[in-house]
């Protein structure tokens, strides 16, 4: 009989028993039919039970059989103590679910390798930029002409691949009225072959599709987009779409799940880098540089060669800029160049959320540990009440390992149930968090599959959790002394010592979670309460696209139409909106002096724009329709402080220093208030506003294809106009379309999304941790009072006062709580530095921030001890001593 059939027989043990019985029964019948005396025949067969046992052992695996019995016994124990089990499963499920959800997110964003050949051999190139104030920024975008030079420099040793960021672009397949959005990425033609990708239909872009700027209007789409948008129609090859002013032809579909290298976005359409309008510009930082090492080359050698090439290019670029300080120049010329592994892709989302996600994972781990400590206490208490049963088992010959297994299997059942509930929780929680990350301006898409990685994590977590909370009680149960227990006196103090240790651990973890949560909540509050300098309420932001570039006068006609609409107070147009995440900036020179390194942020605005945004005009005037760029400018207070010592700058002049030291002159016509431009964290930067009406180098009026129209609504909810405006814009001038529409408040909130998320989740975890710790404290204290009721009864009988009893019951617990809190405090202080980057205007070492967790824990500890103390004090010595 094979091993397999023995395993099968073991798992359906009853059937084997029945078969053996049936065979023996049929034997008896034969014997009786053949004239044997029934009683004699039965005697001859011998003890049926012994026969059955003997025959059975050949047909099953005895060790598996005993394991099965223990598993069943464990399940019965779990079901017997329904309420305890439910509490254990629930608290573990919360911790395990949160951990699993955290794993899903971290795996999807940071760990899972890209679906390409040899993902480990993919690096992202970046350089460290030292800003004007000495702060260091990671520059992970590059300029294409420099990229081409660097690619030549490492030819034969490594392949360099340019991939743009993922742009959500407006494209049209048929008429201009049916505009739709798609994620578009400009990529080097040789990327597909380097990544080992194949075409599902058609062909992929190759190096020969990426040689001449603007000459290769071809596109490849991802399998996901092919499925979503075209229902896998193979006839998609050859179809054309319009993006910007160009008509592209789809030449193929990528096979497999590859959807770009920008983890967090899923690229739908890939086009050659040569089609980017910025490909020849020497001042546009627009693409990432990825590195694939060729066989036999050394990563560090390639990095050094790339760094040397980059420094030579930077020196060449700097030659044009005069007047920069020697030190600043040296810093620029020696920027460290990094080559970091990018097996999981490389994206801004990763950079923004890496530390936050790990921090959340740490919080979930702490909550899980608190839950484990709770359940360990429950199991210990249960094992204690079963000590007689255990002692009996040992007396009857059960080995220590068998006892350990028995208790561990019970724990495993609890962990398994919790894991199942936790998976269900993670199933819901992970997408919930992703949807919260999703800022209004940039949609995040992460693949969260139910795959072998997730399953593997769940299994490892279940086993780890079982061992964490089950190992100590199991070992303790196995060390039982049958002689002592059966006589009626085990050492109860040993159990209590373990429980107090667990309580101290719980309190320590809880302290850390509370402290971190407090810091995140305060950070979020300080950020949201920070003034932005303008009023985003009632402002709608519409990205507006013209079929063909339009002159400023046409845009002005559109604004006039909007201003005449009921429900709109004012309207204006600008090159971009505030806090959009994009920036235009340059160096400024006053009186022909060399520029300092402070960047001035710039925006092109129409007359009335300051009024729409409610930015106060402090001096001078707003733009007029006849103002042009270059010529007139409005600056803010920070600008005036930086260049005019804070005096009224109206009437003064400055120059914008462009590439190759080209200078454009402006006269300041107005002074306005400061606003948050790039983000809400940093101090408001110097800003200069220029007229939307601009002249090109030859003095001709420039036509604009895309701009942002801002309107202020009379209704308090600007979205009340959301359905009307996309119809009214083409009604005003048929050339215009709205490609996206958002309230400005949402754009502002996008800047605190991470902080909101951290505050919300950590507050949730803090509540759970506090609850679990409270339940744990209560449970342990209650248990110890129940155990010591005889002792307490005697003490009271000989004259102990209520206060003495209360002290007796709580003293050790208070010591455990204090020890735990101190441990948590020390650990929190040690980790304070790692948190700094995620905080705003609050420090992990602030005294108030340390007092908060103390106060919360103290309150919970008091609440948790009251019932047990009352119970202890109300023990009636007479009743107690009589029952014992």
């Amino acid at each position: 009989m094979s091993l397999w059939s023995r395993i099968a027989n073991t798992l359906r043990g009853n059937r084997v028993n029945r078969e053996i019985d049936e065979e023996l029964q049929s034997h008896l019948e034969e014997a009786i039919e053949n004239g044997r005396d029934p009683a004699q025949a039965r005697r001859a067969l011998g003890n049926a039970l012994r026969l059955r046992e003997q025959a059975r052992d050949f047909r099953i695996l005895p060790w598996l059989d005993s394991l099965k019995m223990d598993v069943i016994f464990g399940w019965r124990q779990v079901r017997k103590n329904k309420i305890t089990s439910a509490a254990a499963v629930l608290s573990l499920a919360l911790g395990m679910g949160a951990s699993t959800a955290a794993f899903r997110l971290i795996d999807a964003l940071l760990l899972r390798p890209l679906p390409i050949t040899d993902p480990a051999n993919l690096y992202g190139l970046s350089h460290l930029i030292t800003g004007a104030n000495g702060e260091i920024q990671v520059g992970d975008t590059w300029i294409y002409p420099a990229f081409a030079q660097m690619r030549q420099a490492v030819k034969g040793k490594a392949e360099l691949i340019a991939v743009s960021l993922d742009y959500v672009s407006d494209i049209t397949y048929a008429s201009d009225a049916d505009m739709e959005k798609a994620d578009v990425q400009f990529v080097s033609g040789w990327m597909f072959s380097s990544f080992g990708l194949r075409a599902a239909v058609g062909r992929l872009i190759t190096e020969s599709d990426d040689t001449t700027p603007g000459a290769h209007p071809v596109a490849v789409i991802s399998h996901d987009y092919w499925t979503r948008r075209f229902d896998r129609d193979p006839k998609v090859v050859g179809r054309t779409f319009r993006m910007g002013t160009k008509l592209y032809q789809i030449i193929g579909v990528v096979d497999g799940p590859f959807s770009g290298t920008e983890t967090g976005s899923m690229t739908a359409i890939f086009v050659p880098t040569m089609m980017s309008p910025k490909v020849q510009r020497t001042d546009a930082w627009w693409h990432r540089t990825l590195v694939r090492l060729l066989p036999g080359s050394n990563a560090e050698a390639v990095r050094q060669q790339l760094a040397a090439t980059w420094h030579a290019i930077a020196a060449e670029r700097m030659r044009g800029i005069s007047g920069m300080s020697r030190e600043a120049l040296d810093r620029r010329l020696n920027e460290p160049v990094l080559m970091e592994p990018a097996a999981a892709g490389t994206s801004s989302l990763q950079r923004d959320y890496r530390s936050s996600l790990w921090m959340l994972a740490a919080l979930t781990a702490l909550v899980l540990l608190i839950a484990c400590a709770n359940v360990a206490n429950l199991v210990t208490a249960q094992a204690e009440s079963r000590s007689r049963e255990m002692a009996l088992r040992v007396s009857l010959g059960a080995g220590r390992s068998r006892l350990v297994r028995l208790v561990l299997l019970e724990s495993f059942w609890i962990a398994l149930l919790a894991a199942a509930a936790g998976l269900a929780f993670a199933w819901w929680a992970a997408p919930f968090v992703v949807n919260r990350i999703d800022p209004a301006t940039n949609h995040v898409r992460l693949l969260l599959p139910f795959d072998s990685r997730l399953l593997g994590f769940a299994i490892v977590l279940t086993v780890a959790v079982t061992l964490t909370f089950g190992a100590l009680p199991a070992l303790r149960a196995s060390r039982i002394m049958p002689a002592r227990v059966l006589k009626g006196g085990d050492d109860p103090k040993a159990h209590r010592r373990l429980m107090h240790l667990l309580v101290a651990g719980q309190v320590a973890f809880c302290f850390i979670v509370l402290q971190v949560a407090g810091l995140f909540v305060v950070t979020f509050q300080r950020l949201t309460n920070r003034p932005v300098g303008f009023s985003p309420e009632q402002v709608l932001v519409m990205d507006t696209v013209a079929v063909q570039p339009q002159l400023p006068a046409i845009w002005e006609q559109e604004l006039e139409h909007l201003r005449s609409l009921r429900g709109l107070e004012s309207a204006a147009v600008s090159s971009d909106t505030l806090l959009s995440g994009w920036a235009t900036n340059n160096f400024i020179s006053v009186n022909g002096a060399p520029p300092n390194l402070v960047l001035t942020q710039m925006l092109d605005i129409s007359p009335g724009w300051l009024h729409v945004m409610r930015i106060p005009l402090l001096s001078g005037r707003d733009f007029r329709l006849e103002d042009v760029y270059p010529g007139a400018a409005i600056v803010n207070q920070a600008f005036s402080r930086e260049y005019f010592n804070g005096q009224d700058p109206v009437g003064r002049r400055f120059e914008v220093v462009m590439e190759h030291n080209q200078r454009l002159g402006f006269e300041i016509v107005g002074l306005c208030g400061d606003v948050a431009y790039l983000n809400v964290r940093e101090p408001m930067p110097p800003q200069a506003y220029f007229p939307f009406r601009s002249l090109d180098a030859s003095g001709q009026l420039e036509a604009t294809k895309e701009a942002v129209i801002l309107v202020r609504t009379s209704a308090s909810d600007p979205m009340s106009m959301a359905t009307v405006l996309p119809r009214e814009i083409p009604a005003g001038r048929s050339e215009f379309r709205v490609s996206s529409l958002l309230p400005q408040t949402e754009i502002n909130q996008a800047h605190t999304v991470r902080e909101r998320l951290l505050a919300m989740l950590s507050l949730f975890f803090a509540t759970v941790a506090l609850l679990l710790a409270g339940v744990g404290l209560y449970g342990v204290l209650n248990h110890s009072v129940l155990q010591r009721r005889r002792e307490i009864g005697i003490r009271m009988a000989v004259g102990a006062q209520a206060s003495n009893v209360a002290r007796l019951v709580t003293s050790r617990m208070i010591a455990a709580v204090l020890a735990g809190a101190t441990g948590g405090l020390v650990f929190g202080l040690l980790c304070a530095e790692r948190l700094e980057a995620l905080l705003f205007q609050v420090r992990a070492t602030d005294a108030t921030m340390l007092m908060l967790p103390f106060a919360a824990l103290a309150a919970v500890a008091v609440l948790a001890t009251i019932p047990a103390v009352l119970r202890a004090v109300h023990i009636d010595p007479l009743v107690m001593l009589r029952t014992e």
Partner: protein
């Protein structure tokens, strides 16, 4: 070398031999067959027959299946497997070896 429990192996040998000639048989038939052929000289203990059958089944020497008897009950019948045929040759050789040795001792002593 024959082991000390050579006589216990005799049961296996007998069962295999009977099954070789007349399989398939159920347990009771195997028992009576041994009894008849040996003219009641050898009586198989029911108590050891079934464990032996199950052990041989586990070893893969015999195969068992259920059949329906005319009275509606089921009986478990056994037949020799190819491995069992090989084992029979081994067991027979061993038995002959042991009995020859015993005979030698009887003659010599």
């Amino acid at each position: 070398m024959p082991k000390s429990d050579a006589l216990q192996g005799a049961l296996d040998l007998l069962v295999l031999k009977v099954l070789m000639r007349r399989s398939p048989l159920h347990g009771y038939a195997i028992m009576t067959a041994i009894q008849e052929i040996s003219d009641d000289a050898l009586r198989v203990e029911e108590g050891s027959l079934y464990p032996a059958l199950h052990r041989m089944e586990e070893a893969g020497w015999v195969r068992a299946r259920w059949i329906n008897k005319p009275n509606g009950r089921r009986a478990r019948i056994y037949e020799l497997s190819p491995a069992g045929k090989k084992q029979l040759v081994v067991e027979e050789a061993r038995w002959n070896h042991v009995t020859a040795a015993v005979n030698r001792v009887l003659r010599m002593a």
